[in-house]
């Protein structure tokens, strides 16, 4: 069998760490080859070497049987290697065509021949079933479409080998399904695909061969058809993995968070949350799932006071918090673990100690008469570090920036849980974390539930929603389209609701004019 890509005995060192240790990867032509590993296993480094972003310290690369030196991405492009980056590299106010032709523009004299370009983009798009409008602006199209533009960029440059770097992280289940279809189509048309992922399900669905990396080394290469998900997971993690979070049955008590007929505008000025009502009880986790951009962000921001609402009411216990500031809501017992920990959860240039008191730095014992008490702040940090097992180089004095993602998230979880809020709003708590950290954070969320807290878990990861929640609410287009018990549902049902094609147990809207009209439409 002919190998189109061969990376032989690749070793790459970074200060203090051997990211790739004698890795050999051989990819057959016209196949989908998966590269599986946890965060930090060395997948990205290996692909960066193949794509010319890094140079290996040892080992060699062969493309189509010929030894090559990939000194920079342009060399990779010339060799027919293309990369679909995890974070799209698209210019938001350019059109689809402009993004695709950038750097290889067809010309008429000195002028870009935009019409010829559009025709070519359309033709390639048709050939691979991508269905992209070449004249649309990037900022106006969905994330799934944007990813197709990324793929088109490679195809426009006649790439034969396509590297997909965690391509499904930002996609909805339906989009993932379509992407898998596109990938198979690409292989049929003669391309070869390298799929980097840590999601076993995808590998099982689409890949032919899977190479597993752990801590910079190859654990093994298996035929996907012959290996079970459990086997591959064990190879990846190095021990048996329990896919399910251990938890007892929930014991829900009285309603702690009540949302009534909430309307919130999104940043484009239209309603992102429409007449939404929801209740979360003490002692339960309510999971909110939905395709990204269906109103989750607006809902969370409205709950925490970060954005103004159009109408409706939010109660914590019996208190109407709608007129209250962010601060007042926090003081009343609303905790928030934000979606983007680095942008919203932490001040990265503050030390860990300083980050721990970000809500109550002005209160005793951390301050007195407006003057800070560094000793009390440090003692608080020492305690939280101990209790929550936050790993940091210099204890409380560690700059938050220098900590790993998992420990940053642990620090936020520690801070929010320590305040013992009555209601905890948790958004995307495990995005980008490794299995160990995910397990820990899930355990903590369950422990808080058992501690009689009301928890609203917002996540794009269906597995997480299914594992951690007691009840699941599905949001579509700003509305709740279904509420189900976690034990009585599955991915298919949720997927249908998320796509708006199924409604189930929609809560009755409360007394208001708008609610009547919504009900009328539902009926």
């Amino acid at each position: 069998m002919a190998y189109i890509i061969e990376m032989l005995n690749i070793t790459k060192d970074f200060p203090g760490i051997r990211a790739n240790d004698n890795i050999t990867l051989q990819v057959e032509e016209h196949s989908i080859h998966a590269l599986l590993g946890e965060n930090g296993a060395g997948k990205s480094t290996l692909m960066s070497i193949l794509f010319g972003l890094y140079q290996p310290d040892a080992g060699k690369i062969r493309i189509k049987g010929k030894d090559v030196r990939v000194t920079d991405p342009n060399v990779a492009t010339r060799l027919g290697i293309g990369m679909v980056h995890q974070h799209f590299k698209l210019v938001h106010n350019f059109t689809v065509t402009e993004n695709i032709i950038l750097g290889m523009e067809p010309r008429k004299g000195p002028i870009i021949d935009i019409r010829a370009a559009e025709q070519k983009v359309e033709a390639i798009s048709k050939l691979y079933g991508l269905a992209v409008d070449p004249r649309a602006k990037i900022e106006d199209i969905s994330v799934g479409m944007q990813q197709r533009v990324e793929i088109l960029k490679m195809l426009y440059r006649d790439a034969e080998m396509l590297i997909f770097d965690e391509p499904t992280a930002v996609l909805t289940p339906q989009e993932i399904h379509e992407l898998m279809h596109i990938m198979r189509r690409l292989v049929e048309e003669g391309k070869t695909i390298l799929l980097i992922t840590h999601k076993l399900k995808e590998i099982k669905e689409v890949a032919d061969i899977c190479t597993v990396l752990r801590r910079g080394k190859v654990v093994g290469t298996v035929k996907v058809a012959d290996a079970s998900e459990e086997q591959m997971a064990e190879m990846m993690v190095g021990r048996e993995v329990s896919f399910h979070v251990a938890k007892g049955p929930a014991q829900p008590k009285e309603v702690m968070l009540r949302i009534e007929n909430l309307n919130v505008k999104n940043n484009k000025g239209v309603l992102g949350v429409k007449n939404l009502s929801l209740e979360v009880r003490k002692g339960e986790v309510l999971g909110l799932c939905g395709i990204d951009g269906n109103g989750q962000t607006e809902l969370v921001q409205a709950l925490t006071g970060l954005t103004r609402i159009e109408s409706g009411k939010i109660f914590v216990g019996d208190t109407d918090i709608t007129p209250l500031s962010i601060k007042a809501r926090t003081d009343l017992g609303l905790g928030h673990i934000p979606e983007d920990r680095q942008k919203h959860g932490l001040v990265l240039d503050f030390t860990l100690s300083e980050n721990f008191v970000i809500h109550n730095y002005y209160e005793k014992p951390y301050a007195h008469w407006g003057i800070l008490n560094p000793k009390a702040i440090r003692e608080n940090a020492d305690r939280l570090i101990r209790e929550f097992d936050v790993r940091s180089g210099q204890g409380g004095d560690t700059p938050a920036r220098s900590m790993s993602g998992g420990n940053q998230q642990k620090a936020i979880v520690a801070r929010e849980i320590d305040r013992s809020p009555k209601v905890l709003v948790v958004a995307q708590p495990t995005r980008g974390l490794d299995v160990g950290a995910i397990e820990y954070i899930h355990k903590r969320i369950i422990a808080e539930r058992d501690n009689d807290k009301a928890i609203l878990l917002v996540s794009l990861e269906l597995d997480e929603i299914l594992d951690v929640s007691d009840r699941i609410a599905v949001i579509f287009n700003g509305e709740i389209v279904g509420i189900v018990n976690a034990k009585e549902t599955d991915e298919n049902e949720l997927g249908l609701m998320m796509a708006g094609s199924l409604r189930k147990n929609v809560p009755p809207a409360r007394q208001s004019e708008t609610s009547a009209s919504v009900q009328g439409r539902n009926a």
Binding site: P73, E98, I111
Partner: protein, 317 residues
């Protein structure tokens, strides 16, 4: 009566507008490529000084002295902007700080060299700067001819030509597409094999050339010599025009004309009854006040290049 006054204002308004437009186009190139350039003022000073000095020195030997002066002004502007490019592209300097440094430097260098060359705090005065001209033929067009083609400085036509050239380059050519991509999303540009640093060098050096030219144009039309006051904030007005014109060449043209007229108005105010009572300082303030109002008006709509001012690190993916 009033109509003739407005017509009379045209040559002087266009004289003031020309350097504003040219320098603002410079700012456009720089910011579109992703580098903020608040050193337009300083570069104009250096360009103006160079142009004036060369004019003074060559005047006895050639009638082309002012035009050679402009070319040298362009070269001096490029040299000055090279510093900004090196600091902000290679050494990842904060672009506003680097620009501030250049503005301080310009005041120092020009007067320092004046003292060395002319032994005084300013250049010697030149006897002829750039001369006004009447365009044959076009000047016969009713109204328009009087407004734009009789007794005007040719520098205005240069400015308009540059607006057209800039528009063509930025919006129609592969070069423009690539440059704009560097100002919006340099990582995307780099991933497509575009040399981000190279494009930004071109953007910044173009801004140096244009601001240098603008400085020369300004001194050789509106002044008789270069002094520390010759540019008096015109570079910042150019910056304002860039914002006011929403980073678009035609917008810049309109904004530059607007500010040119508001400057001219301060000279003619005493002849206009309802404006005569206002102090001249009021008119000096106008462009700055208008800019702030415009900024408030555009608030919330992101119109500038997204990555302008950000330090681009090729290691960051």
């Amino acid at each position: 009566m009033k109509a003739t006054l407005i017509l009379e204002m045209f040559p002087i308004a266009l004289m003031f507008a020309s350097p504003i437009i040219i320098a603002a186009l410079g700012g456009l190139f720089s910011e579109r490529s992703g580098i903020v350039n608040i050193a337009l003022e300083g570069i104009m000073m250096v360009g103006g000084f160079a142009a004036a000095s060369v004019t003074v020195l060559l005047e006895p030997s050639t009638p082309l002295a002012p035009w050679i002066g402009l070319l040298v002004g362009i070269a001096a502007g490029i040299a000055m902007s090279l510093l900004h490019a090196f600091a902000s592209i290679n050494l990842k300097a904060n672009q506003v700080i680097s620009g501030t440094a250049l503005n301080i430097l310009a005041g120092g260098v020009t007067i320092y060299l004046s003292q060395i060359i002319f032994h005084q705090q300013r250049t010697r005065s030149f006897s002829n700067g750039i001369q006004k001209m009447t365009v044959p033929g076009l000047s016969k067009i009713p109204l328009l001819g009087k407004m734009f083609f009789i007794e005007n400085y040719p520098t205005f036509y240069i400015a308009v030509a540059l607006v057209l050239i800039t528009w063509f380059l930025v919006y129609k050519t592969p070069f423009g597409l690539r440059m704009r991509s560097c100002g919006e999303h340099p990582q995307a540009a780099a991933s497509m094999g575009i040399n981000v640093a190279g494009m930004r060098y071109i953007g910044v050096l173009a801004s140096g050339a244009l601001a240098g030219l603008a400085g020369g144009v300004m001194v050789l039309t509106a002044d008789i010599q270069y002094t520390i006051m010759s540019i008096h904030g015109t570079g910042f007005i150019a910056l304002a025009s860039l914002v006011f014109g929403r980073w678009n060449p035609f917008g810049v043209l309109a904004a530059g004309l607007f500010f040119g007229f508001s400057t001219a108005l301060s000279f003619y105010a005493k002849d206009i009854t309802f404006l005569a009572k206002l102090p001249s300082e009021f008119f000096y303030m106008l462009p700055y006040i208008f800019t702030i109002v415009a900024l408030i008006f555009f608030a919330g709509k992101s119109v500038g290049p997204k990555a302008a001012g950000e330090i681009y690190d090729s290691g960051k993916r």
